[in-house]
Symmetry: C2
Subunit: 330 residues, 2 copies
């Protein structure tokens, strides 16, 4: 989290300017807001990717899945960007998404190299009530947290959250991990295969702020040290299931449904069984669930993810005085 120096008087952090910025949609082919934004840009029907200091480029990550309006064709593309998967030997019977991940890694990476693009903002929708959520990895530079703070302070139409995943870079599995820096922009609630104007508008607004922030940074704007409130992912929790058939025996309790990032205390209602009983949260500590009842996670056996709410002091951020190669401080 780059909390170097004295937490109360941290040093400035700086990076070279960001010139190669990617906005990707359709990583999951049934998450329509990002998909339609990407299509509009790629067809030249929409503007908004140009800034004074750079022009972002649009990518449609999973064209085949987008064509059939499914999350994926063979396997979940957004789990294919681990270093191991990207470096696995090619094979004739390779799932489509692994092939496509390798292709995107050539185009935008290689992951972890100096040649990788500076920033990827990967656009997603969720059926969970997560508002505008900025998903970052633990080893992200404070750059992403300043970006989150900037977005949070400007978006008034939806709540803005930051979720941090404790996954080291090589095991980071999502498309944004191919770039030197990146975020996933997760906007909900929106059903799969539906394009809601309100959700599209929240995503477009947040994305505009992503690009504005990079532009301001590139121009030398200093972002002072500040506190950010974030949710560090803890564990995944499955639905209650029949031990023999594996079938669900309960779903999210109505009092917990749509309550993403709201505290859940020990003993709070969590699931409701199909015969009407309440299953309470049996953990010993309060937690902050998110991705509650996300459609795509049933097959991953995830009813929600728990998280710890933290307050992080991040150092001030300003452009590196001498712009050399990318200087990854994290």
């Amino acid at each position: 989290m780059n909390q170097e120096g004295n937490a109360f008087n941290p040093p400035h952090q700086s990076l070279p300017p960001f010139s190669r910025v990617i906005v990707s949609g359709g990583t999951h082919g049934n998450e329509l807001a990002g998909l339609y934004l990407a299509k509009q840009w790629l067809q030249g029907k929409a503007r908004g990717l140009e800034r004074q200091t750079f022009s972002a480029k649009a990518v449609l990550s999973n064209p085949r899945a987008s064509e059939v309006c499914r999350r994926y064709v063979d396997v979940d593309l957004n789990r294919c960007f681990t270093t191991e998967c990207l470096n696995s030997p090619d094979a004739d019977d390779m799932p489509y998404e692994i092939h496509r991940a390798k292709e995107l890694n050539v185009l935008l990476g290689p992951k972890g190299s100096e040649q990788a693009v500076d920033f990827i903002c990967d656009l997603h929708n969720t059926t969970s009530n997560m508002g505008v959520s900025i998903l970052v990895y633990q080893d992200c530079h404070c750059f992403s947290l300043h970006m989150f703070k900037y977005i949070q302070s400007h978006v008034k139409s939806a709540p803005v959250y930051c979720a941090i995943f404790n996954t080291p870079k090589d095991r980071a599995y999502s498309l944004d991990a191919v770039a030197k820096y990146g975020i996933a922009l997760e906007v909900g609630p929106q059903p799969q295969g539906v394009l809601r104007a309100d959700i599209l508008s929240h995503m477009a607004e947040a994305l505009k702020l992503v690009l504005d922030f990079i532009d301001l940074y590139n121009q030398g704007t200093e972002f002072p040290s500040c506190e950010v409130e974030a949710y560090v992912k803890d564990k995944d929790f499955d639905f209650p299931r029949d031990p023999v058939t594996g079938e669900l025996t309960a779903t999210i309790h109505p009092e917990r449904q749509d309550q993403d990032f709201q505290v859940m205390n020990p003993g709070d209602p969590l699931f409701q069984t199909f015969d009407g009983k309440t299953v309470n949260y049996s953990g010993s500590q309060p937690t902050y669930p998110f991705f509650i009842n996300e459609a795509a996670y049933y097959e991953k056996k995830v009813a929600f993810s728990s998280s710890n709410k933290v307050s992080i002091r991040i150092p001030a951020l300003r452009l590196q005085a001498s712009a050399g190669g990318a200087n990854r401080i994290s």
Copy 2:
């Protein structure tokens, strides 16, 4: 609509008792409320299908699509129950759902015959904000409208609507058309692939009332003549699309989204284009849209269906004095 007799003093209508009653779920494999109810009954884990005068039977309509949590595998099962499709010659390369429709027709029909079951309640979910909607065909007996009235008067947790489709019996394409009488119970909003406790509860409550109503009817309860308010389907409207690529150029306007069954007057906002313009409703008469932004209908090129709101006086309903063969009055 069986408005026989004087509309202000219609005669009683009567039918034999209903003994063979079917509750079907999973006709669309990603509409999870009905699917899970059906599974629970079939696995003997749930009760509630027994009444004094009959025991309903559960059917899981599309097991293969349910297994993979998709609407369908090859083609939409719930468009396969036309007389033409059911009577089409068998073929080795027949789509799975046509095979399954024929199978269900043997099990529950044959459609239009005396052997057909008395009633099918087919359970569906929609991403549209349609509350508890009772979908019936134009030639339905007033039995279904009395049932709707009964459900509407008892359900307090969600609005209850009745939508009427002007499709003659032989072209009626949905599973419920295989029975002598039937409804589709459409409950929303719920994303595909998600099981929400509130939606499950609304569906279970409405289904309980369906069975209670049949039981009361079978026991000789008289349902007096009354007015019902219903929405007669008019036309399907597509999204605005690019004339060359066929791609969407707009989605439902935020002021229209979630406003199913609410009046739309000429000039009201209807679509919002991706460059932010409002497309107003250009019809000359008010209409009542429903199935607004239903995920499954993008591929069918339906952004919403329009309807006319009507008030229908239905005659009183009581059990036929001499219970012979089914006496279809409609």
